[in-house]
């Protein structure tokens, strides 16, 4: 009997303590980020959608070495077609396709790239209505020189 009374009293006290703790949160500011209106602050290392950079004169930064293809864990995710320019004997990247729908955003390709031509952007809203629209070809991947420079600056700042 005494035991039961003790148990009841301690139970009531503990429940009251728990409820008081919950009530404390009533007055705390909410932690919700109202997403579509407010975007999260992304750190500079964030790995978003991949993009190709261009040099300041508008030429491709990619030299077609296919290193990224070799380290990519998803088979055939990155597809590069190159050809040799008969005059300058330089490799020209003709096709550069990434299937973002299958990309796992591991960042292996950006680390291996000798010219830092392939980088991760801040873009993460990649939902789409069809799988085909997630296959990005070279035109869709390539950024213009201004944006490329901005991204390069950002990455360099981070490395420093």
């Amino acid at each position: 009997m005494k035991n039961a009374v003790n148990k009841t009293i301690s139970g009531i006290i503990e429940i009251a303590r728990g409820m008081a703790t919950i009530m404390k949160h009533f007055f705390r500011p909410s932690i919700t980020l109202e997403y579509p209106e407010k975007k999260p602050d992304l750190p500079p290392r964030f790995r978003g959608r991949l993009a190709l950079l261009t040099n300041s004169d508008g030429t491709d930064a990619c030299i077609g070495c296919k290193s990224c293809v070799k380290v990519c864990p998803c088979v055939d995710l990155i597809q590069i077609e190159t050809s040799k320019d008969p005059e300058t004997k330089k490799i020209v990247v003709e096709q550069f396709t990434i299937d973002i729908g299958r990309c796992i955003f591991c960042g292996n390709c950006t680390e291996i790239c000798p010219k830092n031509a392939i980088v991760s952007t801040d873009e993460f809203e990649l939902a789409d209505y069809s799988r085909e629209s997630l296959v990005f070809d070279k035109k869709a991947l390539t950024l213009d020189p201004e944006k490329s420079q901005r991204l390069r600056d950002k990455k360099e700042k981070e490395v420093k």
Partner: protein
Amino acid sequence: MNKLIENSIKKDMLINVGPQHPSTHGVLRLILTLEGEIIKDTKPVIGYLHRGKEKLAESRTYFQYLPMVDRVDYLSGFFYQAALCYAAESIGEIKVPKRAEYIRLITMEFNRIASHLLWLGSFLLDLGATSPLFYVFREREKIITLFEELTGQRMMYNFYTYGGVKKDFPEGWIAKAIDLCKEMPKLFDEYEAIITKNPIVLERTQKTGILSKELGLNYGITGPNIRASGVNLDLRKSNTYSVYNETDFKTCLAQSGDSYARYIVRVQEMRESLKIVEQALKQIPGGTPEKLKVKKVNCNCNREECEYCGFDSKLAEKKINPMTFKLPIGEATAMIESARGIIACYLVSDGTAKPYRIKWRTPSFSAVQILPELIKNSPYSDLMPIFGSLDVVLPEVDR
């Protein structure tokens, strides 16, 4: 007619929990035989999330395989990468600099806290309390944000590499982490105020799902689950794989082996992990990245024993080229104390750039295996709290 009578006499009912059920923590199917509300028999069916991680390893190079292992357990990805890295490092006899080991230790312990926090929320959700789930997500968010700043991703980090880690801490990271370490214990106190002595929680968790020492060892249960039964099995203490021997912490034990003991052990473990992180953040060789940078300008000694540019302060032994990385012939097992128990990575290398065979031993696999023993003869309402208290992550079971 006879059959009709037979069926009506039959007392037990088959009930199929999952694969789509709000609280099976993923896609697990349990075929239960109920007599009234008492569970008489259980047959777990797994494999809905099997992604062939072991088969995939055979067709990928070591570097291609590295990002994949994060996904074995999405709540504590660092541990799996660490296990793979340790296995490969012991075959290739790659030395890991101390700073890299410290970075690994800090991230792993933070990851343990994040994982335990999420477990706490979902366990209480299984019991029916909704509020703690949101509170733990708020705290976990802080840790995840730190990880995002460090690695670039919130869950699939791909941060470790063979022989070290990929990047150093960004500027200001260590200060933020120390702040978090100071702030966290108060928040744990709040959870304990809500949960630890709540009479309903006590009623629901004490004396349910009792896991005895012998049964647990026989089934290969590891981690907090077996520590709650009083077995002092903590690889961080006994095997000291990283720089755990340089930090001071105690193994959390409980004796009763019921769901409540598992809760107590995990909550204490979170506090211990915070202590480890706090010590490691102070002891890290080379200090904060800001300090390291300032010194590097002046320090061009390149001596091995130099505090700021010696081997200990590097991130990786040498820059390993992913294109040509190969391991010699050999085999190794790396065992790691993850948030859920012992992860063993058995790696067989045949000298080529691709692993010959990788076997993952995951703690959740054993935990699901023991579930029928734990819930036998307990009411159906206790199924989810007991299952939840084992901290099972289904992708880890199916690999």
